[in-house]
Amino acid sequence: MLFTSYEFIFFLCLLIGLYYIIPKRFQWQLLLISSFVFYYFSGWSNLLYISVTIVSTYFVSIKLNGLTKKQKAYLKENRDLSREEKKVYKEKIKSKRWGWLLLCLIFNLGILAVIKYTNFALSNINSILTLFKMNEISYVNLLLPMGISFYTFQSMSYIIDVYREKYEPERNIGKMALFVSFFPQLIQGPISRFDDLSKTLYKEHSFNAKTFSFGFQRVLWGYFKKMVIADRIITAVLTITKNPDTYDGIYVFIGMLFYALQLYADFTGGIDITIGIAQMLGIEVKENFIRPYFSKSITEYWRRWHISMGTWFKDYVFYPLSVSKPMLNISRSSRARFGDKVGKRLPVYLSTLIVWFTTGIWHGSSWNFIVWGLLNGVIILISQEFDPLYARFHERFKVKGTFGFRLFQVIRTVLLLSSLRILDCYRDVGVSFRMFVSMFTKLDIGVLFNGSLLDLGLDVSDYIVLVIGVIILIGFSLLQRSGSVREKIANKRPVLRYSVYILLFFSILILGAYGIGFDSNQFIYNQF
């Protein structure tokens, strides 16, 4: 069930109706059932995959907790043990716990890896085999269960946190299953943390008109972004990127900007729907975006775009990796060899690149994404290196903080990240780079004015809708800087307030790119 399908809307209305009618203590159970129903619609085998993850994670979480308790009880009972003896015992329990955690991680990430990367691995092996004129291995036919990357990451963050004793594990397997499978975030995140989500997920919620209508407004806003903007412009993006031989040069630039708009509207719109639905149910899901296109550097952008993914990689990959023993050893030896200045950076840089490699491959099993991830890492490192240079520049020219300079920074960042995303659009790394270069070598500005833009599958009225849409998006973000837009509208006179929402509703209904004539396309982030 896609968010934009009639089935989903129907499902949602039914659920929300029931949710506020049934006794409140059953609310979370209703959510659990709905989540499984939602998942069932994408195929029952998917249900199997997520159940395996839930059960294995639950089992290990209880096991880990049991070991901690055992250790506490043992130490309490045997107070008179020497420090050494205690240490030995602790080590024993620790290694047992580590074993269980590792088992759980390998098992679940293994499922993800096998399903997601087998064919990618095979294709790489095959290209080597062809090099040696050997027979190719045939590909396997594995369907990627919906949202597997998201729920796997979410349950892994849970098990690692339990291992780290950040919180007690959830003893009710139903509640734990709801945390992993909570349907609004199943398709495309965010990757919630248990300590955040559990605060409101299992609570009894009575109907609150303001929260409910705010949630509903956010859902509408999400649908607007997704259906009026993203699903409209995707036609042009696909026309350009699927025909690189026809559309190179300035078209690549146009496609790149269009894709930036499409991805933003689609992904943030989807998240708006997710958070809005949760809010209608009285549940708080953390924000995943903070006006990312207003970022002044790539580093900042990654703190504001798909935040739950960024912090996941930071907390569970970057930090553990950087402070691991081997990395600290590398740090020590590199400092000894290359001196303090270079030596200190080496481990951090190494971790950064590894994290960006993983981030890349998490986005998709192809070299495009690996190169994309690594380039992001490289840019972040380069800007880190240039820091002193920037400092000197700003000392000399007092432009820092001026509106013009900030605007320049924002535009530069958007252009930079959009050009990186070229890798996201074309079929392989070679074509992507060729297209990138063609932007500079085949710059035919005339295309912009000779009507060729109308051959991309959009007509004049579509462009008008898009321009107005973009103006609304930018205006909305500008307004949002000083606080919730919904709150601001809620303070206006009723007539104005309701007019805004009725207008929003009908613009989705009329201008939305849905139904016969428009291809139903899935959320871009589904596949990840």
Binding site: D459, S461, F506, L509, G515
Partner: protein
């Protein structure tokens, strides 16, 4: 305070509903020019006197080939054609079911050409056959039976969901007929006076299988049953159109079916000479459809057939009915005259000046 809140919510819902209805009627196709056959289905429901002796159901082979005005003038038979473009048998069945909610005719004439299709063909024709019906379970059942894989049932409840993307192709016509449409047919008959003679015909190609689909028989059975239950005589009819080709194997199946179910079946292609049809002058598109002259000739013949077989009373002496049909006739002859004038002036009919090749 609470009351006030409820009232304001109510008002908002009314505004939304009102806006929805307005936008929907604006965005739905009007079918007032070019593809006028799209307006046929809904026209029936505006008919003041829904009490007919005979109801025709079927595709263009009825709404282009028979003229209720002629049936009235010649025999005093009141009739209505519930026809629509490429009406398939499930459309026909549910359309009949819907019609029976309003009236109980003595005779139902079903055009059997659609037996050749045993699966949905085209979304546009689904819309034309179903959109015009008022919302009811019958309509939804019809849609459910007729939908192409890419269609959604809900769009038949809320047609705006289907037509919303017409916002950028709205024309003057959409605004002109926003709230009220013209009458375009004569008790379901779509008039055309122009002529285009038959020249050569593609030789009918041999089919792998001549047997009509099971699903078609299923609906034909249902239709037979529906008529029996309502004491209505069902007549199976093959209209005198030369194309699509009506195979002998198909004809035999209909003869058998009629015999088995004690129905009348008439293939008018067997009576071309008796009717006096001349395919040089009586068709407007080289044999697919008849023009006015052809339709009148067919009606004269078929009216007699109905008279001979069923006990249909001549109602021309009923003053109320006479007044009603006089109006209809006036409109009919008026249009005929207009069409001839247009033909003289422009060489073609303004309403139909779009080439329509895909339509059958």
């Amino acid at each position: 305070m609470k009351n006030k809140k409820i009232i304001s919510i109510l008002i908002i819902f009314l505004i939304i509903a009102g806006l929805y209805v307005l936008l929907q009627s604006l965005l739905m196709p009007k079918y007032m020019t070019k593809i006028v056959e799209g307006a046929l289905i809904s026209e029936y429901y505006h008919e003041k006197n829904k009490d007919h002796d005979v109801i025709f159901i079927g595709d263009c082979e009825v709404y282009e080939n028979f003229s209720p005005i002629t049936l009235w003038e010649e025999y005093g038979i009141t009739s209505y054609i519930r026809g629509s473009a490429q009406q398939l048998i499930w459309h026909s069945y549910y359309l009949l079911e819907d019609t029976l909610k309003y009236e109980k005719p003595d005779v139902v004439v079903f055009s059997v050409l659609s037996m050749m299709y045993d699966e949905p063909q085209n979304e546009a024709y689904n819309r034309m056959s179903i959109d015009g019906m008022p919302l009811s379970l019958t309509k939804l059942r019809s849609a459910k039976a007729a939908m192409m894989p890419e269609e959604d049932l809900i769009t038949y409840v809320f047609p705006l969901l289907r037509y919303h993307s017409r916002w950028n192709e709205l024309s003057e016509e959409d605004f002109k007929y926003w709230f009220k449409k013209d009458q375009i047919a004569h008790n379901g008959y779509l008039m055309r006076v122009d002529a285009k003679p038959v020249d050569t015909f593609p030789k009918p190609r041999a089919l792998a299988d001549y047997k009509f689909g099971d699903i078609c028989y299923e609906y034909l059975d249902k239709m037979t049953q529906l008529c029996k239950d309502n004491d209505i005589e069902l007549v199976l009819l093959k209209a005198p159109s030369l194309y699509p080709h009506w195979y002998d194997e198909w004809d035999e199946q209909m003869v058998d079916y009629a015999a088995k179910n004690d129905l009348l079946y008439i293939n008018l292609l067997d009576y071309l000479d008796e009717m006096g049809l001349d395919f040089n002058t009586d068709t407007y598109d080289a044999g697919l459809h008849l023009n006015l002259a052809g339709a009148e000739k067919t009606s004269v013949f078929f009216g007699k057939y109905l008279k001979d077989n069923f006990n249909l009373i001549d109602k021309r002496n009923d003053p109320e009915l006479k007044a009603l049909w006089d109006d209809k006739s006036a409109y009919y002859y008026n249009m005929e005259q207009e069409q001839y004038q247009e033909l003289e002036e422009y060489g073609y009919l303004l309403k139909f000046n779009l080439k329509r090749t895909e339509e059958k």
